[in-house]
Symmetry: C2
Subunit: 366 residues, 2 copies
């Protein structure tokens, strides 16, 4: 019998007792004293509890792999579902076997190598930016995309604020921007890709992914905090083996805003998002408008690339207030297998194409 | 032009500056100094910033209603998407107009009145429990459901840990348990309902909701933290106007585990879940295994019932380690429009039906 291994930080005066409570909560949700004998095969077990030098206890808990039922959604429920509601418990690592990873969908289809092939960029950091602000008409967004592609940006995505609003309806925007990026590539010999933001409700989500394919997009920007991590693989089946899935952290912040509960950013962005099937993952980098530390950010990047259940490595994409000036420092921190996301800074100075060119030069010489 | 109003607690030395940053982050994501003139109609505005007696600032921010594009997913993105990643910002209230609420799906179909009608229970607190633990064979779960219905439980749901595992596959379980509950109702003159847990990935989610209908279930237990809040309305369209949607808080804890960021539980469970279309909402009650205060719990119940965008009231369902002994106190705290959820406590003593009868008696005399 194989197991799912989950590692939790526990902040509690009695960590052994608490670890046992977590194992029970996340499997049976019933005190073992009253559980029928014929159910005990499904109970999770505490493998070890070790107190670190900083006084925080680290518990390793093993779940029968069958508890996940071959589904990412059920895996997330057992890893952290109920105990996400408790303080003092934090998921900091997990491991599953390759069979469960395959049942879940096999993870990323392109990953780092596939994205590099799609944008014809090797041996250098990759560049991403967002079309913004919401409220602009489609023609203005398409012109913006042309200039950014011509200037050397590899990956152009919609801002997460762009949905299906009156100012630039989804289908109209995807068609016009995909065409503008293709024209820029033809005019300038670039290989930029365009990924529309897709967070439509219910079956609209699936319809928009199909529209993105039909209208010439090169993939999609998805928001698993809004749509559910499981919809990454669902979108992947429609997008096929040659379109890129880029994950955005919107609505996931509850898990990252405290160090004493939830899910560590290294696991949330580096492992869960990768297992779900994203080819690149945006996370709030240190030194920006959000709250992660340099060490947490390096951990996200490490988890995005390390051996994990046979999955292909994916690109970490630090964002959230980055600037061109910081490219050398960011590349030094993350390495060259990185998708640098810079948004607003390209808009300063009033010449988007020139700013994109400076961004590209900074990345090539970093 | 109508607006979406969002109210945030801000913990920051400069709350006015921070409120402005939130308004920009959650609409344009671009400094207004570099935003094109033709985009300014979509910018959110700070209506007021007031510092309370406790020193916490409260900012009211107004967004053009068009920013939500008529979709719950985009509404969640603008209410808290990016700033969920920041400490010191907490969504504590919001308001939308009835037109947006209708575009989103119109909210709950049954609500409190509809559930009371379905289970033929008026003027008393309602009773819910869960089939558990995962790992039991279907026959044992069906027997358990029969005893619980015969004992007077109104609403019997799968535990969230029950998915499509080898021990009790989804379709086999739904069919057998629905039949057992129907037989108990026929034998004992009760009106119990059965709601299977549905958190399948991608299109499996929709398939299971349809299976639940086809196999005789009375609704579904959904986990919006896992599946996305938007899937509540998607399930509702399949379930129709006479089946119950019950919301479970799994994987939502990141938002509730600190008082200084995220979304207040009053808004998360009382307003967002209701707007999404759930008829009853489980939340971790005070005095159990989780972390909410009595005041927060009362606030959830108040928000579940108050006037909000023309939506029907829904049932608050406090759970997470409740016991029969506490029924009088819980009813005193929540009022009689409540769906009391007691799980493990019914299993103590070894006679489920007798425990269900004691639970029912406690609720009827509370």
């Amino acid at each position: 019998m194989t197991v799912i291994t989950a590692v939790f930080e526990i902040r509690d005066a009695e960590p052994e007792r608490r670890a046992l409570e977590i194992a029970v909560e996340q499997s049976h949700e019933l005190p073992t004293a009253v559980a029928p004998q014929e159910s005990l095969h499904s109970l999770a077990h505490v493998a070890s509890v070790v107190t670190r030098e900083d006084g925080v206890a680290v518990a390793t808990i093993e779940f029968p792999t069958e508890l996940a039922g071959g589904e990412l959604t059920q895996l997330l429920i057992l890893l952290i579902g109920n105990v996400s509601l408790q303080n003092g418990v934090r998921l900091i690592d997990f491991a599953i076997d390759g069979g469960l990873a395959q049942a879940i969908g096999g993870g990323p289809r392109l990953g780092t190598a596939g994205i590099r092939r799609r944008v014809a960029a090797h041996g250098r950091p990759l560049l991403a930016t967002a079309l913004k602000p919401v409220g602009l008409p489609t023609a203005a967004l398409a012109t913006m995309a042309y200039d950014l592609a011509a200037g050397g940006i590899d990956l152009i995505k919609d801002d997460q604020g762009l949905g299906n609003q009156i100012w630039s309806p989804f289908a109209e925007r995807v068609s016009a921007v995909a065409e503008a990026v293709a024209k820029a590539n033809a005019d300038h010999g670039t290989s930029a890709v365009y990924l529309p933001a897709i967070a439509g409700p219910g079956d609209v989500f699936v319809e928009r992914v199909q529209q993105a394919v039909d209208l010439g997009a090169d993939g999609a920007l998805l928001m698993p905090g809004i749509s559910g991590f499981d919809r990454i693989a669902e979108a992947g089946r429609i997008l096929g083996d040659d379109r890129i899935i880029y994950s955005h952290p919107s609505f996931l912040g509850g898990f990252t805003a405290s160090d004493e509960h939830g899910i560590s950013p290294e696991v949330l962005f580096g492992l869960i998002t990768r297992l779900a099937g994203a080819d690149a993952v945006i996370f709030p980098s240190y030194g920006g408008r959000f709250s992660l530390t340099p060490e947490q950010c390096a951990g996200v990047a490490a988890n995005a690339a390390r051996d994990f259940a046979g999955l292909t490595p994916i690109l970490p994409s630090p964002g959230g207030g980055m600037s061109i000036d910081r490219v050398p420092e960011l590349v030094a921190h993350y390495g060259s297998d990185v998708l640098l996301l810079i948004g607003a800074d390209l808009h300063r100075g009033g010449n988007l194409r020139a700013a994109a060119e400076r961004f590209r030069e900074a990345a090539e010489s970093a």
